[in-house]
Every structure is written in structure tokens, then in C-alpha cells.
Symmetry: C2
Subunit: 250 residues, 2 copies
């Protein structure tokens, strides 16, 4: 029997710019009668990382460009919010039916280039994705390790849509401490035949699993995954971005 | 603290056409010192469902069409396998670089229309997706309930690629006993503001979580998820197929 535990931590505090997330996580773990163990994976939603890093924009301070005004007028959206989306994007993948699917400066393809108004707590304020979510994950991992001596993995997660399938799932936008893809190619299958093409995006599966313990309407931004033996190596979430050369759906 | 347990069941037997999967699952649970509880979700990989349902094709018995021969010749692939893929498809979404991304008769968009040669156990044999994975899931759920009296959810999972992001993740191709999408629209966020557009594909997240306890190279085709409070209702995996009208990426 192989077992994973997906543990949503209750009572995470409200996060403000400049906050020490590692300290919040360790306090919240203690409040949940937990201590970190080697091999644990800490999954943190993008929203609290963005807040701690001050990645907040007050729409009242945004002057929309003429193009943002044009787009907003077509779909009855807020031109200032469109402006923020355009600033976070390096490429528009689709702009249709009031939706903007954009490639962010990091290379993630997602709705509104990751700009989000939900769960912010203040009207007229939106969050941006962390500037470098892999660096955010690595810094958090280092801080947790410095404080506890434990070797843990860290995922920064966000909620993305996908073509073809309805509904959203959580994926990893920042990774530290393990390889986000478990590459089975060449390894034998259960019958001893070599597997040909299976490389599993385990960091995305971990983010998805964590979402199940967090939920969208609840205030559980940090989830602990215990018992998963992650692929060892120096990983990051850029490894989860399919290269243009290998992507049939650019 | 909200906690899910993702339990991979050891010792699942080799599956043959006509096998009673519910019986195999209950025996394997017993061998793992587990009994089903109300609210458990049983995640079964497509491969064993297809085998039990006899969805196997011996390539030696397949006569490829001229088009299958043409495609196979371009990429150095087996024309008989291409022929099986074409028979399982109702639409080709992309055919490029030796890959066929197809829409199956069920409406799933995936590589090779779900035709797979790995983990089959016999050279020259491929598996097809179950003819109606939702019906497979419903039948399994009914059989488990008849035997144990417990109200469980069932997911038939398969491993799909996705545009833009590297690596594969497990998704749900059959669902019974719960709603595969948790629709938060209109519900308040953690600050009391209504969430606007979040509908989470929890069945896919459950399938992904199960994959972490199963792995690709191991013989763990059945995973138990315990402690997840699934959205109540009569659900199926067709609900996870984005309608053409709502899909910007057909």
C-alpha cells in the first residue's frame, strides 16, 4: 500500500505585502499540530505569494491604453483591468467572447495573463502572478529549510483552464526542490516492456491534489503533501512549459 | 485540518477479458486491510477496464486502409496501429511530427484516440478506450454498492497530454456517483465577494491525485481516495468535455 496524505492547513492568516510566508507557514503548521518532515511538499497558492510580494495593482491608478479601451468596450469589461492584463502578457493566444488567453512574460498560457480579482479582499485591486514564481518557490524552500533543517519541496500553484475540457484545475507555476516531470521513457512497464512516451507532469498533479484539500471558496492557501516520493533533482516550473518546437497547439 | 488520503492498492491481479473488476477490487482492498466507506472514491485506470471489457485488438488481424498506410509511411509507424487509431476517431485535431491528436467517438481529445500499446502484457496487442466509460464507471459503482452497501464514487482514469504544458496528467474519462465539476460561480470567496468564473474539474484533479499513488511503471491500477467530500449529484465524464461553442481551441 502506497499512501499520500493531502493536508489542508486551517487558520492561515491574512497576508500583506512584505509578510514572511515561511513564518506564516510554520506558525500555521504548529497550529495544526504538524511539523515539517523530509520529503514533504508544501503547496502554496499564487494568491498569497503575490500578496506577500506586493504584486497588487490598484485599478484606480491604471491609465488604460487606447487598445485596452477598444477591447473593454467590445465585451463590457473594465478597461483598466484589460490594461493590466496586456501589461502582464507577451503574446495574445486568443481574444474572443470576452476572454483573453495570453502568454505571460514567464511563458505560461492562461486566462487574463494571470491577473485576478477574486480572493483579494479589497475591491478595485487585482493580483499579478509573482514576478518569478520559481524564485519565490526556491526562496520559500530555503527559508523553511533554514528554520527547520528539513528538505522539503515547494510548489506555487495557480488555477488554469485548458482547451477541450471543461472546468479549471490547479497547476504548478513555481517549483523548487524536485523535478516537476517524472520521465518514465525507457523504463520498463509492469510487463517489462520499455515505456515509450510517458513523462508525467507530477508537479501539476500535486497542485491538483492540493486543490482538493484547499477548495476555492475557503481560506486554505497552503496544503501539505506527505508520503509522495518526488523525482529527485533541481527542478523548476519552466520545465513544465512545452517548447514551441514540441507544441502542436501554439 | 482537512485531509485526503490517496491510497494505492498493492497486489491487483492480472486482468483478463470477462473478469469481474468489482470482485478484483474488493479482494485487493481486503488484501490491503481496507474496506470501502461511504464517500470513498475508487479510481481505476482505463487499461484494466479495457482489458476486462475485452477492448483489445490484435494488430495481426488488422488490415490497414490506404490512408493508414500513407500516414504510417511518413512517420515510420505501424500502419495497422494507425488504422486502429483512425477507427477509434471521429475527427483528427492534429496530425503532425508522427503524432495523431484525435477526437474519439466519446468526444475526448487525446493522442492516438486512446489506443495504447503500453502495459498490455502481450506484444502486438493494443487496448482501446472502453466503449462507454461512464457506463463502465456506473456499473462498477453499482456492483461495489451491491456487494458492500457503501455509496462510493468511481472514476475511470486515463493519461492525456495537453497543449502548452509539458508532460502528461491523468484525467477522468468515466465518472459515476458525483458531479465531476464543482461549480463555485456565485458562491462567496474567502472575503464574501461572489466568485465569478470558477468551476473546478475535481474529477480530473482526483484522477491526477490518484496517479501520484499509482505511478506509470508499477502495477497499481486501482487507487482509493478517502476523505474528499465530492460534489453531490448524478455526474458523468461527458460533463468534462468542453462544448464546441465554449471552446476557443477546436
Amino acid at each position: 500500500m502506497s499512501e499520500l496524505r493531502i493536508i489542508g492547513l486551517q487558520g492561515f492568516p491574512e497576508v500583506h505585502p512584505g509578510d514572511d510566508l515561511a513564518r506564516h507557514i510554520l506558525h500555521t503548521l504548529a497550529r495544526n499540530h504538524l511539523t515539517l518532515e523530509d520529503g514533504d511538499i508544501v503547496v502554496v497558492t499564487q494568491k498569497v505569494v503575490s500578496k506577500a510580494e506586493g504584486r497588487l495593482v490598484r485599478l484606480a491608478e491604471v491609465v488604460p491604453s487606447p487598445f485596452a479601451e477598444t477591447v473593454a468596450a467590445q465585451w463590457g469589461r473594465d478597461a483598466r483591468q484589460i490594461e493590466v492584463v496586456l501589461r502582464e502578457a507577451r503574446r495574445i493566444v486568443r481574444m474572443d467572447r470576452g476572454l483573453i488567453i495570453a502568454e505571460t512574460h514567464h511563458g505560461f498560457i492562461c486566462a487574463n495573463a494571470g491577473v485576478d480579482a477574486s480572493n483579494v479582499g479589497e475591491a478595485g485591486v487585482v493580483t499579478l502572478l509573482p514576478r518569478d514564481p520559481d524564485a519565490s518557490a526556491a526562496a520559500l524552500r530555503a527559508a523553511l529549510q533554514a528554520e527547520t533543517g528539513k528538505d522539503v519541496g515547494v510548489i506555487i500553484s495557480d488555477t488554469f483552464g485548458r482547451p477541450w475540457r471543461a472546468g479549471l484545475t490547479d497547476v504548478a507555476i513555481g517549483v523548487a526542490g524536485f523535478l516537476p516531470i517524472d520521465d518514465y521513457r525507457g523504463r520498463p512497464d509492469a510487463y517489462g516492456h520499455p515505456l515509450r512516451v510517458t513523462a508525467v507532469a507530477v508537479a501539476d498533479e500535486l497542485a491538483a491534489a492540493a486543490e482538493l484539500a484547499a477548495g476555492k471558496a475557503t481560506a486554505i492557501p497552503v496544503v501539505l503533501v506527505r508520503g509522495y516520493c518526488a523525482p529527485r533533482g533541481e527542478g523548476n516550473a519552466r520545465m513544465l512549459i512545452r517548447s514551441a518546437a514540441e507544441d502542436l497547439f501554439r
